[in-house]
Assembly symmetry: C2
């Protein structure tokens, strides 16, 4: 379980916050990312303007063949050259969640080629996906993805996002905020 | 989100508690099932010997065709003749969760015919699946399923469980407790 604490101090400095679709998040100047679940009564959490929480979980869509391709090239977060990062919380619409597994897989893999797009940007871009939807009934987002990369790779990262955002899968995204970070 | 509160009083009277595999749950005489997430400080929760929590979520495995078959015949919980019920928490092993989606689907659908087995017992047996695994890092079970049925259908229900428990999917179940209930 990871918490993303937005506030006036923290490990990462916010360089931009862009609302792609849906309701914005309140502006913050810094974000801390901690491997804990915070509640409002924790000391660190009291100083946060907002907290997003998510849990890493089992794979939901990739096949064994795709997973092997990914594992062969993907890198861990936290490389010393990764001085840039992005936190991108998204929510998908109720119509997405009403689809069955085969329908979601068909949009994600067949129409949108999500994994194939992602593979093109490995190993430069490291990522970790956090699930929020099933933590409670009132989570503001379904997923939070954390990416990190060398600052020279920001252009490639923007290209990756553009490919995903113009894919059929993204028609189901009804809230997305793109938060860019630099080590502070 | 639903909470299953085991204790010395409650809506349902426990008629039996059988540990199928793994660590038992402490014995209780009654269970209450409430559409809330309880914490230890709530009044009702203070009297509980244990609390299981789970959230209803999107479908993870069924195809559109299977879903249509299920929807056509399945019944809601709480029919007036449903005076018997079962609460069955299960946990699957780490090796299950390390499988990819296609591998899990192949075991569940191809080898174990989970949906096809379940369909044979509809509409007599009503069920609701609750997911626990992604609520936190320390949930004792991955799923809690609540079933209800007329007391005459208990034999059929036992047959359903036997079919599932002897399927390849159940080789991945490393904790299961079978709790039978009657309206108290």
């Amino acid at each position: 379980m990871f918490s993303f604490l937005g506030g006036n101090a923290g490990t990462w400095r916010v360089t931009s916050m862009t609302t792609i679709v849906g309701e914005p998040l309140p502006a913050v100047s810094h974000i801390s990312i901690v491997a804990e679940s915070f509640t409002g009564s924790d000391d660190l959490a009291r100083h946060a303007i907002w907290i997003l929480r998510g849990i890493t979980s089992n794979e939901r869509y990739v096949t064994r063949a795709e997973k092997e391709q990914l594992v062969a090239v993907q890198q861990d977060l936290g490389r010393k050259e990764s001085t840039s990062a992005a936190v991108i919380p998204i929510r998908k619409s109720l119509s997405w969640w009403a689809l069955t597994q085969d329908e979601r897989r068909d949009i994600l893999a067949g129409q949108s080629r999500h994994v194939r797009i992602g593979l093109q940007y490995l190993p430069a871009i490291a990522r970790r996906l956090h699930h929020c939807r099933d933590l409670s009934e009132k989570e503001p987002f379904d997923f939070v993805t954390l990416f990190d990369y060398a600052s020279d790779d920001e252009k490639a990262f923007n290209q990756l996002l553009q490919e995903l955002r113009t894919s059929p899968e993204w028609e189901y995204v009804d809230r997305e905020v793109d938060i860019r970070l630099a080590l502070s």
